[in-house]
């Protein structure tokens, strides 16, 4: 387990805790209100020497954390709860015996994420966090706790993807998935003979986003949803951050 992966694991556990705390917050409304948590809540957590402590609106908790010899990361609470994580999976048990489990990892674009059994999801990237439950997401900034409609710098779907600017950053820093961005209407007639059974062929990670499709994609509408088959990898288009982007999805 590399140092980075270890840090990621700690981040994931912290993100799960923080995300579950944050989900109770509501949005703000105005431009000048950015930079605080609308509900007035405050949270924080930290740890050292195998012990951690956290707080949320005055409620505090603490426990221990560490890594076993086989590389499993763990954390416990003073009240009897516990959580472990290794190899992209995590599980937890509360003091009352309730269990939860899920996955964690890092997408190709540096978004650290964790999912749970009951529809919970948290992610962080570039100083921002997102936490969701049952499809409803809350967003904020890990530095200031900002949340809601207060100003946020526009999220960038790498608007200069035509130059293939990998170093530009942004949510789609990879630019086009491969050379040859294609127009949607034309994709349907683009040749794409090879259809691998593996939905994530060619090294595309699930959930990764791209500002353009690779060459050779086939427009494949299924119901009201638009898909593209791209040499064994399935993409679906979305509009967000003031631009179109394509996400790698499981085969429908």
């Amino acid at each position: 387990m590399s140092r980075g992966e270890f840090a990621m694991s700690k981040l994931s556990i912290a993100a799960v805790v923080a995300g579950l705390m944050i989900l109770g917050t509501g949005p703000a409304n105005a431009w000048m209100r950015g930079g605080y948590t609308p509900s007035g809540g405050h949270w924080g957590a930290g740890g050292s020497d195998g012990h951690w402590a956290g707080s949320w609106n005055g409620h505090t908790g603490g426990g221990s954390y560490g890594t076993t010899d086989n590389g499993t990361h763990y954390a416990t609470t003073d009240r009897g709860g516990s959580a472990t994580a290794s190899d992209g999976s995590w599980s937890s048990q509360s003091a009352s015996g309730r269990t939860n489990s899920g996955t964690y990892g890092t997408t190709a674009y540096g978004t650290h994420y964790a999912t749970g059994s009951y529809g919970g999801t948290v992610a962080t990237n570039d100083g921002s966090w997102a936490a969701g439950r049952n499809g409803q997401y809350a967003y904020g900034n890990t530095y200031s706790g900002a949340s809601g409609y207060g100003y946020h710098p526009p999220a960038v779907v790498n608007q200069y993807y035509g130059t293939g600017c990998y170093n530009c950053g942004g949510w789609s820093a990879g630019g086009a998935a491969a050379a040859g961005a294609v127009a949607g209407a034309a994709v349907g007639v683009a040749a794409g003979a090879a259809m691998a059974s593996n939905a994530y062929a060619a090294g595309y990670a699930a959930g990764s986003v791209y500002a353009a499709l690779p060459a050779g994609c086939i427009y494949t509408p299924i119901g009201a949803q638009t898909y593209y088959q791209c040499n064994g990898t399935w993409f679906t288009p979305s509009y967000g951050a003031n631009g179109t982007y394509y996400s790698v999805v499981p085969a429908p």
């Binding site: 431009w31 930079g35 059994s117 207060g150 526009p154 950053g169 509009y239 003031n242 179109t244």
Partner: protein
């Protein structure tokens, strides 16, 4: 001759005392304690600055239809952390209380955004894809939904809300008149700086027409403290706008895509129901 010596001694003493007294008399009197003199306290929020903001806000709030061009430049860090400038041009048409059209020809992929008080639509002409979703009737609520559900944010929408002054003056900690510019917006503008705990802004407002020509903002709590600048031009107020301006025929003809935030994490796995025991 002890006596004369005594006389001489006292004479010297007397002369010394006279000299000392004379010197004392020539010195200026001790300085009086300085009067308590403090400069009048200057208000952090200057009424004159607020009046300019109020006048501009009132002009915008009273207009039933507003159109302008917005050249927006904002910073976003590269992977290395170096701030990069991104620039977009937006052709904006807004009709109170709840209709908005934003055509963005460049930079980056062109896009069109429509909101008619019932649905919001985004159309990407480069790939002929359209996204549509129900939207609140309230403009501010619709913009909030756009931000939260799809990371769509139009900085200029902050002056289109029903009460721009309330929006701009929320939590003010300072506001002052910087001066006038003859360069920005090809007209004479008043320059007002204002700030709260989360944002520091500077706005250039036309002296004659009270319309914004530029806004620069810095968000000190944001990572990198990225700057955003909007340059406004081609202002038109209360022009007739056809209802068709706030929708697109591509809504019914183009393949669909969904509104979604690109930073949303992958969907969590669906927890399958436990198998029934036979």
């Amino acid at each position: 001759m002890a006596f004369p010596h005594k006389i001489r001694f006292f004479a010297w003493i007397g002369m010394g005392l006279l000299l000392a007294m004379a010197a004392q008399a020539q010195q200026p009197p001790p300085a009086a304690p300085p009067p308590k003199h403090t400069a009048p306290e200057h208000p952090a929020i200057e009424p004159a600055a607020l009046e300019i903001l109020k006048a501009a806000s009132a002009r915008l709030a009273a207009a039933k239809a507003i159109s302008f061009s917005a050249l927006t430049t904002y910073e976003h860090p590269a992977r290395s952390g170096q701030p990069l400038y991104y620039t977009t041009l937006s052709e904006v048409v807004f009709q109170r209380p709840n209709k908005l059209r934003v055509i963005t020809p460049a930079d980056g992929p062109p896009s069109e955004f429509y909101y008619d008080g019932r649905v919001m639509v985004a159309y990407d002409p480069a790939v002929d894809l359209v996204a549509v979703t129900d939207a609140p009737a309230n403009f501010e609520a619709a913009m909030k939904q756009a931000l939260e559900s799809a990371a769509i944010y139009f900085p200029f929408a902050e002056i289109l809300v029903a009460d721009p002054y309330a929006n701009l003056s929320e939590g003010l900690t300072s506001a002052f008149l910087v001066g006038q510019s003859k360069l920005v917006g090809d007209t004479v503008t008043d320059i007002v700086a204002f700030a709260n705990d989360n944002v520091q802004a500077e706005i250039w407002i036309g002296v004659e027409d009270g319309l914004p020509r530029a806004i620069r903002t810095i968000y000190p709590k944001e990572p990198g403290q990225g700057r955003t600048e909007i340059q406004f031009s081609n202002w038109h107020l209360d022009a007739d706008v056809a209802p068709a301006a706030f929708t697109t025929p591509h809504l019914t003809t183009s393949p669909r895509m969904s509104f979604a935030r690109p930073d949303a994490p992958p969907s969590p796995p669906v927890k399958s129901a436990p198998a029934k025991q036979q």
